[in-house]
């Protein structure tokens, strides 16, 4: 897109969308949609509120714990799937089912089993993100060129060395891509989990705001979560970019 010979980056089209939002809000077209500017003002107030901060901290904690477990489990599953034909076929079936299943329907079950607290949120995060990490890790392991394995073997690598010195690094670009996808899903999972549980952390805030028609606060909270998700995934994206050069050298 060029205007007067200047390249306008695509991100700037978001400004148009935001202006549309602002106009719709100012005209009061829908009572659930306050003007964007009011939401931004509210966002700054919200992040200073102690109830937001403690809720955000609780949510963040569940997120980090859940993600750590999901990464370890997902990468291990992916390598297991890449290790032999039977494991691939059996685990592959389950991982694929779980990756595309409407896991939100399981959240009520988790609430029953793990109570209405943080544990349910953590399990939700794990449930939402593990499978995509496993699938991407497997894709990475699957695409490692056979000659790289042969190279490791012919220079005397043990099975453990082959795994930690060659295969893990060779699959790293896909593993990172999987983690990024897993993060995005985990944030979605955390939102869904908290909407359904809605007695802890940010979920309670969501419920309070929407029950009391505090739409500015509601949107501010939503945007805070959007920003969190985008920051996190661009951090992983940056890491991915660092290892991208060697992903490109493979065929």
């Amino acid at each position: 897109m060029k205007i007067f010979g200047y390249d306008i980056p695509p991100v700037f089209s978001l400004l148009i969308w935001i202006s549309l939002w602002e106009i719709a809000g100012q005209l009061q077209l829908a009572f659930i949609l306050p003007p964007f500017s009011a939401v931004v003002v509210e966002l700054f107030e919200l992040v200073q509120r102690p109830d937001f901060q403690s809720a955000a901290y609780q949510t963040f904690e569940s997120f980090v714990i859940g993600m750590t477990i999901a990464i370890i489990a997902g990468v291990a599953l992916g390598f297991l799937m890449g290790s032999n034909r039977i494991a691939n076929s059996v685990l592959g079936m389950w991982v694929n089912i779980m990756a595309s299943a409407p896991l939100s329907s399981l959240v009520p079950v988790l609430m029953l089993l793990f109570g209405l607290g943080q544990l349910t949120i953590i399990v939700t995060v794990i449930l939402f993100s593990t499978w995509i990490i496993a699938l991407d890790t497997y894709a990475g392991v699957h695409h490692i060129s056979p000659s790289l394995r042969e190279m490791g073997r012919s220079f005397g690598a043990s099975r453990f060395q082959l795994l930690t010195r060659v295969l893990f690094w060779a699959a790293l670009p896909e593993i990172l891509a999987g983690i990024r996808m897993g993060l995005i899903r985990a944030v979605k999972g955390i939102v869904i989990g908290q909407l359904l549980v809605s007695v802890v952390a940010l979920g309670r805030l969501f419920r309070t705001f929407s029950d009391n028609f505090q739409f500015e606060e509601f949107w501010a909270l939503t945007i805070a979560l959007f920003i969190f998700a985008l920051l996190f995934s661009s951090a992983i994206g940056w890491l991915e970019h660092k290892v991208e050069y060697y992903a490109a050298t493979r065929n």
Binding site: L148, Y245, T249
Partner: protein, 269 residues
């Protein structure tokens, strides 16, 4: 017709004293119906360059990978210094067709990789050794570059340096120049011969280029396809004292190329 000595009996050079590598009665099936190699008996003389040459499907790379211990045989055995070997070992080093460099490691880390895996020496010693061979293959100054910053020819020099660094007696080279452009390839062939003259290595070299085989080899094993069998063994007997350009115009060189082509063309469909 030919000035090159042709050993018609394939078994003739097998099981002599000074063969560093021998293969006995190697048969290889992939699955139940693909017969890749059929009763190969072959000796690879110490300190010489032996080329496995043949059309695609003749099993030359399969044979090389069996010698490397990367593939299992269906029947037969591989002997090094007269002793049967199982799997890869420190006396053999492999140079890969697609280089097989670690893309996340620098040149010096790649060259030192084989030493590191088997914990040979301290870290400074390994680096010292890696540097030496990086210089040997003509890559001095590129120690801290990554593979993606190098050209195809330079990458294969890294692969060669890595194989030399582990100080194996036998170098196994699987079409090492096939992913390299023609000019680089010729220069590389010359450098390889120069390098090997000082290193006292035995080399087993797989190629599908007749010219390359005749140019670099002391002994050429012609394989015929489906299943892979030894067709004949040719010793080009070209003087290595002449310059590369003289060799490429040498009558014996040209005649040997022609003779091999006559032998191989009947396998083309």
């Amino acid at each position: 017709m030919s000035t090159a000595a042709v050993a018609q009996m394939p078994d003739q050079n097998a099981s002599t004293e000074d063969n560093i590598v021998e293969v006995r009665n190697i048969t290889k099936y992939y699955g139940e119906d693909i017969h890749a190699l059929d009763s190969i008996n072959l000796g690879f003389p110490t300190g010489q360059m032996t080329t496995l040459l043949g059309p695609s499907g003749c099993g030359k790379t399969t044979l090389l990978k069996i010698i490397a211990g990367l593939l299992e045989t269906t029947e037969g055995e591989v002997l090094i210094h007269g002793k049967p070997v199982f799997g890869p070992g420190p006396e053999r080093a492999f140079v890969f067709q697609d280089f097989a460099l670690l893309p996340w490691a620098t040149v010096i880390e790649n060259v030192g990789f084989g030493l590191e895996l088997t914990n040979k020496g301290t870290k400074p010693e390994r680096e010292e050794k890696a540097k030496h061979y990086i210089n040997e293959v003509g890559l001095g100054g590129f120690e801290y570059k990554y593979p993606h910053e190098l050209s195809g020819g330079m990458r294969q020099r890294v692969g060669l340096a890595r194989a030399l660094a582990v100080n194996a007696e036998v170098l196994l080279m699987d079409e090492p120049f096939s992913a390299v452009d023609e000019q680089t390839r010729r220069k590389f062939q010359e450098d390889l011969l120069y390098l090997l003259a000082n290193e006292k290595k035995s080399v087993i070299f797989v190629t599908h280029s007749i010219e390359e085989a005749v140019y670099v080899s002391d002994q050429i094993v012609l394989l015929s396809p489906r299943p892979g069998r030894i067709h004949s063994i040719i010793r080009p007997e070209i003087s290595r004292d002449s310059t590369p350009d003289e060799i490429r115009r040498d009558k014996r060189y040209l005649d040997t190329v022609e003779e091999i082509w006559t032998n191989l063309r009947k396998y083309l469909d």
